[in-house]
Every structure is written in C-alpha cells, then in structure tokens.
Amino acid sequence: MKNLLLLGMASLILLSSCRNKDGKEKAEDTVAESQVDQNQSTKEEAVKFPVYDFEGFEPLLHKEDDKTYIVNFWATWCKPCIAELPYFEKVNAEQKDNNVEVILVSLDMPSMWKSRLEPFVENKKIESEVVILDDPKQNDWIPKVAEEWGGGIPATLIYNKDKRSFYERGFTYDELNTELNKFLN
C-alpha cells in the first residue's frame, strides 16, 4: 500500500513536469481551457491525496472486512456531484459507529489536483477519505466498477462482503440512507 502511494507520488512528480500551471481559480462550474491543457510545462508539488491507476484502485472496491463501503465517484467540475457531497459527508459522520465508511473517488484531471481539488476539500472541510483515480483507459475500467455504468457521474457503489449495488445517479440524504439501510442489518 505504501509502495503504491510512493509510486503514485513519483509518477505525479514525473507527470507534473509536463503539466500546465493555471492562473486563477475559476467559478465552480466552468473550467478554463488553460486548466485542461495538458501539454504546457511547470513544476508542481505532490498532491495530498493518494493517486491510483485502476489496478491500484481496484482493491478498494473489493474489501472483505466487516465494513460497508460507500464509494462515490465525483469531480470538482461536476455540479450534481458537488450538490450531493454534503450528504455523503453527513452519512460518513453519522454511520461511523455502524461500520460504514465513505470513500470519495475524485476523477478530476491532473491539472486540477492542486488548483481545484485540494482547495475544494480544504474549504469544504471534507472528512471522508479522498482518493484520486487517474487512469485514462476509461473504457476498460468503467465496466470493472459496474457492468451497467455508462460513465456518467455522480455515480456511487455501495458494498460489503455480502452484497453490492451501483447507482449512476445523484442522491438526496434520505435516498442515500434508504439505500445504505439495505446493507445494514
């Protein structure tokens, strides 16, 4: 696990040498073109969150302990994702003693990790675990998360060692609890 993290960091540093440094923060739902231009160079510090390719990430979808995991796929540029995040945060806090853990999987692009993702997580004081999934081979890995997933986000996987369900949609707080309750008891 630690090796993976190191590997992620190392590849990040490598990658960042050919990445664009963007100027200012933009409004939440629009992304400046410069921020997604991958081909300009700058130096950036390593991002705070673990960065996985799908192979490294996949074990997080198949833990076999006694917990129920809520794995939410999101990105800072995805408006409905941002809208539902507080409910995942709330459930994570409320259900901790019930052996429930929320994992927030950011699909933000590498150029956004420092400029958008980190400030967002900091400003919103997000407590759930945040990881970055950075694997451009989406057509290969999307069906490995769930056969029925078309690739839209927000999307959420709830699972424990006995049961799993996938939802390609947003949640309200009540809806999330309703689904989660099917996994508890």
Binding site: T30, M109, P110, P136, G150, G151, R169, G170
Partner: protein, 205 residues
Amino acid sequence: MKTLKILGLFALVLSLGAFTITPNPMDDGYKIGDIATDFSLKNIDGNMVSLSDYEDAKGFLVIFTCNTCPYAVAYEDRIIALDQQYKSKGVPVIAINPNNPEVQAGDSFEKMKQRAAEKGFTFPYLLDEGQEIFPQYGATRTPHVYLLEKTAQGNVVRYIGAIDDNYQDASKVEDAFVEDAVDALLAGQEIEVKTTRAIGCTIKV
C-alpha cells in the same frame, strides 16, 4: 394531507433546481442499428442545419460536446482533426451543444460562437435549443459520439461512445475508437468496437 402534497411539490421543485437527473444510458436512447432522427438546429453562423442538407454525405459524426466540460475541451483539437480527416471522405462532423445555457452560462450561443472562432472549428456547432435532440439520441455526457451511416432507410447508428481511449494525451492513444469505426464503415467492413464508455460531464438540463 394537502399541506404535505404542497410541501412535497415544493421539495420537488427545489430538488429539481439543485440536481441534474441523469438517465441511465443503458435504458434510453439509440442502440446500434437504430435509425437516428434528423434535426434542424441553429448553427453558430445563424443558419439552420439538418443532416438532410448533406446530399453527398455517406455518414455523419454527430458529436455532443460543449465549451465548458473539461473532457470536451480536451478533445476539441481531436474533433477538428476528425472533421478534417473525414469530411472529404463523406463523413463530416456535426457538433451539437446539448447543455441548457440557462444552467450553464458558459455554453450560451454567444459563447459557442466565441469558442468556435478561437479554436477555428471547421464544422457546424449547433445549439440543441429546447433540448429535444440529445434525449432522443440518448446522449448522457459530453463529449458523446454517434457515428451514423446514411442508408436508403435513414441514418443508421453504427457506433456510440468515446472518441478514443486516452483523453489526457492524444499521443498515447492505443485505440482510436471513432477513427477505427469510420474507417471500417467507409471500407464497407463490420465495425469491431461498436460502443465504448467514458467519464464525461453530465448534460446540463
């Protein structure tokens, strides 16, 4: 009871404002082999564009895309390249912005004009005004490609999905899904990979 209903309605209106509803792409819209609808949508030059305008076309790359989605932006140059590569062979790109500009200001008709000028789009860039076309196709995200083949029966859907397998770096693409599909179509061969998936920005309704 009545107050409850009103409250419910109120909550519904509130929640509609806060969320975009993503239809399940596996349930709705076109499947491979379906006949795709034509349309008449306003281009950035002010003219209305329909597939039927293209008498000599062999097919179309109908691409739902927009100004604001980082994935769409990452693919702009590749969409231009596709148009340059295939327009002369009879398969032009028709780009459609499916987003509601009232929800996504950066995707207004004016902003579309600006972006097309900045990037030098060589293809029509249409606004799905009223958002009636993208749901018929079943587009759920941007960019979302539909390769159509013109036949006597109509425009038949031959490929649905992503442009290629690496949004981050065009030079690292291993499978150029759309190119492979158009090449096969033009050669009269079976398209091998007919549908692909990609993370994309949900369409703003």
